[in-house]
Amino acid sequence: MDIQVIYNTPYYIPLGIFIATYFYLTGISAGSFVISAVTVLGGKKEYKSIGKIGSILAPVSLLIAPIFLLIDLEQPMRFWHLYIYLQMTSPITYGTFLLSAYPLNGVLYAWALFANKEKTAKILGITGIPLAICTHGYTGFILALGKGRPLWSTALMPTLFIVSAMVSGIALVILIASFNNFFFTKRKDVEKAEQEKKLILNLGKFMGATIVADLFLILNDILVLLTSKTEEYHVAQLLLFGEFKFLFLGIEIFLGSIVPLFVVFFPKTGQTLRGNVFASLLVMIGVFAMRLTVVYAGQSVPLH
């Protein structure tokens, strides 16, 4: 059947790169906080340096993140409306409170760690883990409740976001820890540096495991999209063969997941700091590509 469009109104994409960046930063924050809290709760002395790095990264990235939200508002001076006019069915409303409570918890936690208050740090670590997961999980809900958008409105979204958050959080902790190890610890104390290196390598393996989980979720998502309703099918086509194939298949999947996976598990590269740093860098890029793809591809199928 021949169909021609004679007239239609233009189609706009309301949410853009600021929102993607915001998702990216909260993800890093949640991931690095969880890693830090887990190492601290695990209680081993030699883990402490990693715990400290995570504890700094978490609040810092989360203090930057809301700036992107704010500049994306059409009326930034009205942001306080979020605190007084509450719509409890909206994920953004509960997100507002998470975004306020979580950095506070994070800052206190970092302070407790650096002041060597073990007990306080542990308690704040325990309260912080669910907060961190919710703070990032809610961003997944924001998308999942966008019911008109086939790529977003899946129950997988919050989990997908949390898992990719872990991936990127660990990657950044590895990067900073390796930097610290190479430039500072190694010069002061060779033995300690060796210990730290072992830890970083273990983290690399753990990152590999989360990448596998992430890939598994993405596979689920794509398979279901391909066999689901028309809109869903077309979004999957966009990702696999259309406009987003480079960003999705090329950067997110190949460079951001498969290559790093190979690097951390291949003995020759996985046992070196350099290999892990390389893998982590790729992962950081890959997760950003994932955020971009989800935000843009989700809105690229027109609704009218």
């Binding site: 021949d2 469009v5 007239y7 508002l73 059409e74 409306h81 069915t89 019911k147 958008r149």
Partner: protein, 199 residues
């Protein structure tokens, strides 16, 4: 229930001639700036000569019974009147655009001059003084009917009861309050139209 009114619109596409008068009247009535649309008419052509047809599809906010935009608006700037019209409080909207992203009908836009979100509100200011929306008033084919679907004697209730009617994307569960008679499947399908433009 204090107010039993449920305002709705019915567009009889058999009478629509695709003249865009409604779009123009909407812009004039509400002073919507250039480039944004609260009401517009999509036009497609189908078939090979001599078996051809043109379909018109006037679109706007459906003032849904279960609006997802209202569920998702974090500051309750989007709210629903007792008569069912979905409103946006221009002093409260923070412009997060979440409602635009979640509306399945692409019915909302940011007013580029005033920097808050707007959409069709069935010309609520006219309805309040007993007039019908501007698009209904100016429709040259008399294709649009506006009224209270809870009143069995209203023209719109009678037309809905005696004609096969349809809404756009009923699967979204938003229960749209803009009904169509003679809706063309191809015109209502955004994907098909988009694919044509892509090729």
């Amino acid at each position: 229930m204090k107010n039993n009114k449920r305002y709705a619109m019915l567009i009889d596409l058999r009478k629509c001639v695709g003249c865009h008068t409604c779009s123009v009247a909407c812009k004039a009535e509400n002073s919507f700036p250039v480039g944004v649309f609260a009401s517009w008419v999509k036009i497609i052509e189908k078939g090979k000569f001599p078996h051809v047809s043109r379909s018109f599809l006037p679109l706007s906010c459906n003032n849904c019974e279960k609006p997802i935009c209202l569920t998702n608006c974090p500051v309750k700037a989007t709210w629903k009147r007792e008569d069912g019209i979905v409103m946006i409080d221009q002093h409260r909207c923070i412009g997060c655009k979440y409602c635009i992203a979640s509306c399945p009908y692409d019915a909302r836009f940011v007013n580029p001059l005033k920097k808050y979100v707007q959409k069709c509100t069935f010309c609520h200011h006219r309805v309040d003084v007993g007039l019908v929306p501007a698009c209904v008033e100016t429709c040259i084919g008399r294709a649009r009917i506006f009224g209270d679907i809870n009143d069995p004697n209203s023209l719109i209730s009678q037309t809905i009861s005696t004609n096969p009617v349809n809404v756009i994307k009923p699967e979204m569960g938003t229960e749209p309050r803009v009904f169509y008679v003679g809706l063309d499947l191809d015109a209502a399908d955004p994907i098909k139209v988009w694919k044509v433009l892509e090729d």
